[in-house]
């Protein structure tokens, strides 16, 4: 449905997207990458706001740049937080519905429907300048869905949403995916994406680093040692208990004297054992964290492997 073939995009001397080839099928796909990875550039290419410097981008077989035929089938929720601030949410969505080609009556009815769907029906008549970040995200989604497009692209849509809002938003995206639509969501937060979909496109410094099932990639990463930091009042005892574990590769005392850092294989088994020590041996653990359990480490793994 969405096809990129050796698509590259340069901004003068800076490369935004580098030789990306992929196909995005119906369903929910996450575009994962750190800030500056090229996610927004890729979405701008797909939405035809910009042209690829080399290669091609096709939406249902058509080039999207300034192509109204493509926009009939495409909804876009940009990352930018800019609106016509003097409009109310209802006026904004209705205005964009009119621009999508609906009559005044149709636009009005569709706006009511969409505002209900994104949970903004009761606040739609307030001016956008008074909206919270979460409300703005919902209004942006409403305008993207207003013409029932088959493809919906959302650039960092969960920014600013509270946990409940986030859950509702993700549920709505799942519903849309189940309706057979192609949903592409960009994000730089790994856990956010994990809770959303298994299908990912991983971008790093403009390159497409990996595609496919996030859990498979995660599984591969887990084969390599993970760093784990355990904060405790008794680091010597913690080291005494944890170092004999078969999956601990190395152990180091933190210079602050209230933590140890370990390298472990099979982190799930290690966390299980750590929990047992806390409960059975009264090991005083105030916190633990894994610096590797983030997007950066996924990239490092993929780049170095």
């Amino acid at each position: 449905m969405i096809t990129l073939t050796n698509a590259s995009r340069w901004y003068g001397q800076v490369i935004g997207l580098n030789d990306v080839t992929c196909e995005i099928q119906p369903g929910l796909t996450a575009l994962l990458g750190m800030n500056g990875a090229g996610k927004s550039t890729m979405l701008r290419l797909i939405t035809g706001q910009i042209r690829p410097t080399t290669g091609s981008v096709l939406i249902q077989g058509q080039e999207p740049f300034a192509n109204p035929e493509v926009y009939k089938h495409l909804g876009y929720c940009p990352e930018i937080d800019n609106f016509y601030e003097n409009m109310t949410g209802r006026q904004f969505v209705q205005y964009l519905a009119r621009l999508a080609g609906f009559s005044a009556t149709q636009a009005k009815a569709l706006t009511i429907e969409m505002l209900q769907r994104v949970g903004m029906a009761d606040r739609a008549d307030k001016r956008i300048k008074g909206y919270s970040k979460g409300m703005r995200q919902r209004i942006k989604l409403a305008q993207a869905m207003i013409h029932s497009p088959e493809i919906i692209l959302l650039d960092e849509p969960l920014n600013g949403l509270d946990p409940v809002g986030r859950r509702e938003y993700i549920d709505l995206l799942h519903d849309l995916a189940l309706e057979g639509k192609t949903i592409v969501v960009s994000s730089h937060i790994l856990y956010e994406v994990e809770s959303m979909t298994k299908s990912i496109l991983l971008l790093h410094r403009g390159r497409l680093l990996a595609t496919g099932d996030l859990r498979v990639i995660r599984g591969l990463i887990d084969k390599y040692p993970h760093r784990v930091r355990v904060e405790t009042d008794d680091p010597r005892r913690a080291a005494q208990l944890l170092s004999p574990l078969p999956n601990v590769v190395s152990l180091r005392f933190d210079p602050t004297g209230d933590a140890i850092e370990l390298e472990v294989r099979d982190p799930d088994a290690f966390y299980q054992a750590l929990g047992n020590f806390v409960l059975d041996e009264n090991l005083p653990v105030s916190a633990f964290s894994s610096p590797d359990n983030n997007l950066e480490s996924v990239f490092q793994y993929l780049v170095h492997s």
């Binding site: 800019n82 621009l99 013409h147």
Partner: protein, 256 residues
């Protein structure tokens, strides 16, 4: 769709908050018209009206046009709302042309209010001003010509407003006063020929001649100026529509 594009843009351009400064300036023109009667009591009403019209109303036309025309695209790019417009199933040329037509209408309305209020200030009633019909026609053509020029400038250059203002107050003030026939390259000179006012400033102080662009005799006729302005408008709008369809309009600072 076309009607919606035009009227929704016009509604935005004629928002009271946006219109208010221009209405204030229109009343300033009226006040200046009243004051001129006392400053130059020997001049006829037509001469008094002409002086203020060329000093203020026609100059403001270029300024109004610069402000409204840059709002069509440049302002949307700066506010980053352009993305909502460009990802709708509307041909870009249509988006541009109908928004431009709305801006021309708004600029003409602002100019017309200025001319009518000035007439009221000088003549007591606009209906007594025989020059008003020609002026409204000239203001409309001026709104089209300035609008078309500034539209292209706003599409082709960053900081278009600065360029437009330099043109409106630099080029348009100096070129009509230059020797030779270079004044043909000034929209203001063509508007003067269409308006067909008496030229009282030619015998007045140099500063007044300079501001009203009458240091040189304008040999242009309405018959020449009319097609020139119309052709200029059509050509510039066509180039703008082509430009807008073929080039990218994305807030640069957002680029990753």
């Amino acid at each position: 769709m076309e009607g919606f594009l035009y009227f929704s843009s016009l509604k935005e351009f004629l928002r009271p908050g946006r219109l208010l400064p221009w209405i204030v300036l229109a009343f300033a023109a009226m006040a200046l018209g009243v004051a001129w009667k006392h400053l130059d009591p020997n001049a006829s009403q037509a001469e008094q009206y002409s002086n203020v019209a060329f000093i203020l109303v026609f100059r403001l036309l270029a300024l109004t046009s610069a402000v409204y025309t840059t709002a069509i695209v440049s302002q949307e790019v700066e506010q980053k709302t352009i993305v909502y417009l460009l990802t709708r199933p509307v041909p870009r040329w249509k988006l541009l042309v109908f928004r431009w037509l709305a801006s021309v209408t708004a600029v003409f309305i602002v100019g017309a209010i200025g001319a009518v209020l000035l007439s009221a200030g000088v003549y007591g009633s606009p209906s007594k001003n025989d020059l008003l019909t020609n002026d409204l026609w000239a203001l409309f053509l001026g709104a089209c010509a300035y609008g078309a020029l500034f539209l292209l400038v706003s599409l082709a250059f960053n900081r278009a407003m600065i360029i437009c203002l330099l043109f409106a107050f630099g080029w348009e003030t100096s070129v009509p006063n230059m020797p030779g026939e270079i004044y043909y390259a000034s929209i203001f000179s063509h508007l003067q020929s269409i308006a067909q006012h008496p030229s009282p400033a030619q015998s007045g102080p140099k500063a007044l001649q300079l501001i009203s662009g009458e240091m040189n005799a304008n040999a242009l006729s309405a018959k020449t100026s009319l097609p020139i302005l119309l052709i200029l408008t059509v050509v510039l709008v066509a180039i703008s529509a082509w430009w807008f369809t073929h080039f990218e309009y994305v807030p640069r600072e957002d680029a990753e």
